[in-house]
Assembly symmetry: C2
Homo-oligomer: 199 residues x 2
Amino acid sequence: MLWNMGRPRNFDENQVLESARKQFWNKGYAATSLQDLTDATGLGKGSLYGAFGDKRQLFLHVLDGYRDEQLNGVRAVLTGPGTAFERLTLLFEGVAKGFTEDPQRRGCLLVNSTSELHSNDPDVASRARSSYQAVEDLLIACVKEAQDEGTIEPGADAQEVGRLLLAVMQGIEFLAKTGMDGSALLQISQAALQQLSRH
Amino acid sequence: MLWNMGRPRNFDENQVLESARKQFWNKGYAATSLQDLTDATGLGKGSLYGAFGDKRQLFLHVLDGYRDEQLNGVRAVLTGPGTAFERLTLLFEGVAKGFTEDPQRRGCLLVNSTSELHSNDPDVASRARSSYQAVEDLLIACVKEAQDEGTIEPGADAQEVGRLLLAVMQGIEFLAKTGMDGSALLQISQAALQQLSRH
DNA sequence: GTGGTTCTTTACCGTACAGTCCATAAGTGG
DNA sequence: CCACTTATGGACTGTACGGTAAAGAACCAC
């Protein structure tokens, strides 16, 4: 009887998280001030603190949402329709295109946060570890499928190949931030898969 | 007659830059305060500002030094003794081992700085672009050599392969920061080259 | 309506920040 | 010893920071 009482919130939590994400993504964690966050979200400090706790908690909340989205996206592609090789191709082309499409070339929020904070923040570090472990597992499973369907050399160690693909993926993410041409990034993703394909 | 006058400096510039590098590397640009820098270097604010200008200039100075070192290191390996394939192997094993050996897994300072600052700082962005272009060129040249000596499939596009290797290299750097095992990183570097080798 | 609860707004707090200034120290040439 | 120049180190400045407190507003149950 008490759970629905009191003044109702004047904002949509998801929209606020989205605005906060944009801010953290644009400037990084340390460089975004509370002022930036209140400006971006339209909320006052009191509301922000009441709803999400301090800056760090809000950031972790944002980061978790982002991680879940990205992971679901990767999972959707890698376990979706088409042959395993097609799915891998789709994923890598999507990655190359996605990072190119952002005119600011901000890359992946989780990658950026990991780079910025991992060595001083165990919570961020552990999120990074588990996330990329999950992607690695998805890649390895898909590589195994591709081996079963005969599109990737069955002799290769699937784990080895999956990890290699993970590295290429992260490499593309970074090179996009250095301003490398979209065509070159696409070329890399294609080259990686072509090297693996049975020939 | 005037160039050697005045009170002599009480510090070694290279040592100061090294200490500052350590600080920026540990905490990133935004999160290291001037206090951190004076503590790390032992210099007072006046001396720091007199010698290097403000925080940003000092940082760029540090970054340039780091970039030159790294680039020279890569160049030394890739144009050193041994077959081109051996040199590539040496480089990639060195990268995997190097990033693993740091207990804090801080990765590469230039990569971290690029991730943190590139989208808001053209000076950092341009340094990243040119640096990785240079590494790319070195890799491509070495791949061509390897093709000439017959250790890499001559049919492949050397530029494509070189860029792929660059991506793998950066991927390894990042995965090291996520805490991936040293053995796994080594495995990735070996897998990348094994895929390319004539078979 | 009243009382209770939660959200919003604004003012406020202490601190730490980047950067400047200045008196003084430590050298040089003469 | 005396001018002159440069480096040092601490005091200082104004600002912006993250975070808190408190007063009032908006809704509920009754």
